[in-house]
């Protein structure tokens, strides 16, 4: 992948433009002047410095991922804001939200400022999420108000679920003042216990301790009820079980400030794929059985699930090249996201391309309150250009992240990001 500064005048020629907001599709050219959309339509080449031939390609809103780990501050060996933004660009993402489980925890406005200031020159728009509790300890509320004023877009204790129901309730009440969602990794730690993979037939055969799906769904249920009680916004990350989908669906009929995401890896895999103890498939929540996977796909089709988020979680080689019980949880997912989601949802499940694009663009932006009307004259060009038909084999060389812990290496994917344009820069895939 190459990343270049946009020339002062760039013509995106003969694109098939899909606007997920206006639900429109048309063939047109787009003229960018100084990184902004200057004209949309049939444009004659005059003094254009650079032309990008978009014939046969889809042009749409840049993707938005509201759940990534860029490990900055603290773990520059896994990822940094710089390397993370390269990984995002490769996947067509122009806007991401970073989780606060860094070293130290992002639980104060100074840390929010650090991420915002350091991200300013980067091509991808990076929005920090602050922690709900100090040090993600689940006890005392963090300075949510000061973090929100500094630019935090949501609050989450990320991988450390808020076990104490009173703390969760009080956090939801407090967050109500700022109108931003609480994102709680839903997992009852006592029920999860030492579970390493989904509890089921496969875990029994493999001899790995099981993590039952009820450990998630029971916490999802609690959080949904607390959100309804308090009137706060709740976003449920990486939904993995059929029961969770059911509870979310039921609550959405009663209360409208609930949103939910699902990851590409929970859509792609089921627990049978863990038979060779692939540590790159060790993740929290775990890859579930095929019934849960089908429920997630159904949840996307009927609108119970709002968006796709990668939970991009870089780990070094030595954290993954070990036995399954000792390996770290998490996998990277930005570069492979579109090809995975397009293959599963469009090619295998018949979901339309525009609906897939919505899951990656307007839905996550709406949850976070970001601008959604991107294909307008005068707006900063925050665009992705895709070949939705290209079949390709995902390789380690396609990874821009500092870490390589992807279970998708050597998988056949469908649909590929060709160009990503964001913050005055253009990334070209190689």
């Amino acid at each position: 992948m190459k990343v270049n500064k946009l020339d002062s005048k760039v013509l995106l020629k003969n694109a098939t433009i899909i606007d997920p907001l206006k639900e429109s599709q048309s063939k047109a050219d787009i003229l960018l002047v100084e990184g902004k959309i200057a004209e949309i339509g049939k444009i004659q080449e005059l003094d254009v410095i650079k032309t990008v031939d978009c014939s046969g390609l889809i042009l749409t809103h840049g993707f938005c991922d509201l759940h990534v780990h860029f490990r900055d501050p603290g773990n520059g060996d896994k990822e940094t804001l710089e390397s993370g933004s390269m990984s995002a660009l490769a996947g067509g993402f122009t806007r991401v939200c970073t989780m606060p489980n860094t070293q130290p925890t992002v639980d104060n406005p100074e840390s929010i400022n650090y991420i915002i200031e350091k991200s300013k020159p980067l091509p991808v728009h990076i929005h920090p999420i602050g922690s709900v509790t100090k040090g993600q300890q689940g006890v005392e509320l963090s300075e949510m108000g000061l973090m929100h004023q500094a630019g935090a877009v949501a609050f989450s204790d990320d991988g450390l679920p808020i076990q104490n129901g009173l703390v969760m309730r009080k956090a939801l009440e407090y967050s109500k003042m700022f109108g931003v969602p609480i994102i709680n990794h839903a997992e009852d730690e006592c029920l999860r216990a030492d579970g390493l993979m989904n509890e089921g037939k496969v875990s029994t055969r493999l001899g790995l301790v099981g993590n039952p799906s009820i450990a998630e769904s029971i916490m999802v249920f609690r959080d949904l009820k607390l959100a309804e009680l308090t009137g706060a916004k709740l976003h449920i990350p990486h939904v993995s079980t059929a029961e969770s989908v059911k509870y979310i669906n039921e609550m959405k009929n009663a209360y409208d400030k609930i949103t939910a995401e699902v990851t590409p890896h929970h859509l792609f895999y089921n627990d049978k794929h863990l038979e060779n103890y692939n540590t790159n498939l060790k993740v929290a929540p775990p890859i579930r059985d095929s019934l849960s996977r089908e429920a997630l796909i159904k949840g996307i089709k009927n609108g119970t699930i709002d968006c796709i988020a990668t939970d991009h979680a870089p780990h070094t080689v030595h954290e993954k090249e070990t036995t399954f019980d000792l390996a770290s949880c998490g996998l990277i997912g930005l570069e492979s996201c579109f090809g995975v989601v397009k293959r599963i949802l469009a090619d295998e499940e018949g979901v339309s391309l525009i609906d897939i694009i919505k899951l990656l663009t307007i839905s996550p932006r709406k949850i976070m309150g970001f601008d959604n009307n991107l294909l307008e004259i005068g707006k900063e060009a925050e665009l992705v250009i895709l070949d939705d038909e290209e079949r390709w084999n995902f390789q380690e060389k396609n990874i821009e992240s500092k870490s390589k812990n992807s279970p998708f290496i050597n998988q056949d994917l469908s649909g590929r990001v060709k160009y990503t344009i964001s913050n005055g820069q253009i990334a070209t895939s190689s």
């Binding site: 949510m144 108000g145 000061l146 109500k176 003042m177 009680l229 009137g231």
Partner: protein, 312 residues
């Protein structure tokens, strides 16, 4: 005529009786401004101040009110009490009453405890704060101070700012102010304001700037970390930024805003020093009015009926 045996709280307390307490308190305030600040109204009356919770200003204020009225007073605090030796609340109360006393002024950490006390003893009971329930004498002195400043209470915009959940001052003020016809807004962290508080007739607004703009007077409560259990207020600096009555916020407002605080003050947290010490603040007037208000309440409860028309 004052038809109340006890003074336990302001919920459902008649408006004309609140007004009578305030009017009588102004008469006693005149007494307090005389060279000889003592009247014989409660000569021969014995009052026990029963404090199961630490208190400085409320206890001194009551004791002073009693002395100004010439009552005999006995102080009893938890640290010296037989409760520590395992005696029950009921036995303690009945033992004290057996010594022939006329009234008990009680502060206790349990909500409802002063009501409870009236079931064990025949003496009159004045609630000096029962846990997170009510603190009615504080509300009377607050309303007296408002009336002193504005000449009325009705139709004024009064904001109560802070931890409403854990505040007995907030509850008594809400009951009293609503009864007197004021408009009341509560403001504070959403996790410290009960969801259903609007049932009491108040508005909820989490935006301190809007509330300051709206209000004629603000009653600022102390953040009581000791009552919260889990860390609900992330930090003092966040509280000040979101809910602090700061000099910047006061300076932005064109009109004068009357500043009240029941004390003790956390300077630089819920209120800036410049605001607390400004001419707009009536915090120290509240303290003197506290003595007058408590004299009024004790007098109306314990004074001989035939004297009640010509006292001044």
């Amino acid at each position: 005529m004052f038809g109340h045996k006890h003074f336990l709280g302001l919920e459902n307390f008649p408006r004309e009786d609140i007004q009578k307490i305030i009017d009588t308190a102004f008469e006693f305030k005149d007494v307090l401004n005389r060279p000889i600040k003592k009247v014989p109204s409660l000569q021969g009356v014995t009052i026990v101040n029963l404090f199961f919770e630490n208190s400085t200003r409320t206890r001194i204020s009551f004791e002073l009110a009693q002395k100004r009225l010439s009552a005999d007073t006995v102080n009893f605090s938890a640290s010296t009490s037989s409760l520590k030796k395992g005696e029950s609340f009921k036995d303690t109360a009945q033992n004290i009453e057996a010594m022939k006393i006329d009234a008990v002024v009680m502060r206790h950490p349990a909500p409802g405890s002063s009501k409870h006390l009236t079931e064990f003893i025949d003496a009159k009971v004045v609630n000096a704060g029962d846990g997170t329930h009510e603190h009615p004498t504080q509300a009377i002195l607050d309303m007296m101070s408002i009336q002193e400043k504005f000449g009325k209470i009705k139709d004024l915009n009064i904001a109560i700012i802070g931890d409403i959940n854990h505040s007995r001052v907030a509850r008594s003020n809400i009951y009293g102010l609503i009864s007197m016809g004021a408009n009341v807004t509560v403001c504070g962290p959403a996790n410290l304001i009960p969801e259903n508080i609007s049932n009491l007739g108040v508005k909820v607004n989490y935006n301190i700037d809007e509330v300051i703009e709206w209000a004629d007077a603000v009653n600022i409560l102390r953040i009581q970390r000791e009552r919260m259990g889990i860390g609900l207020v992330p930090s003092n600096r966040e509280y000040r930024r979101l809910f602090g009555v700061t000099s910047e916020r006061i300076n932005r407002r064109k009109k004068e805003l009357v500043i009240m605080h029941p004390g003790p003050i956390n300077r630089g947290v819920e209120i800036d020093s410049q605001v607390a010490d400004s001419d707009q603040a009536i915090i120290l007037d509240q303290v003197l009015n506290g003595v007058a208000s408590r004299m009024s309440i004790l007098y109306l409860l314990l004074g001989h009926k035939e004297e009640s028309t010509n006292e001044g």
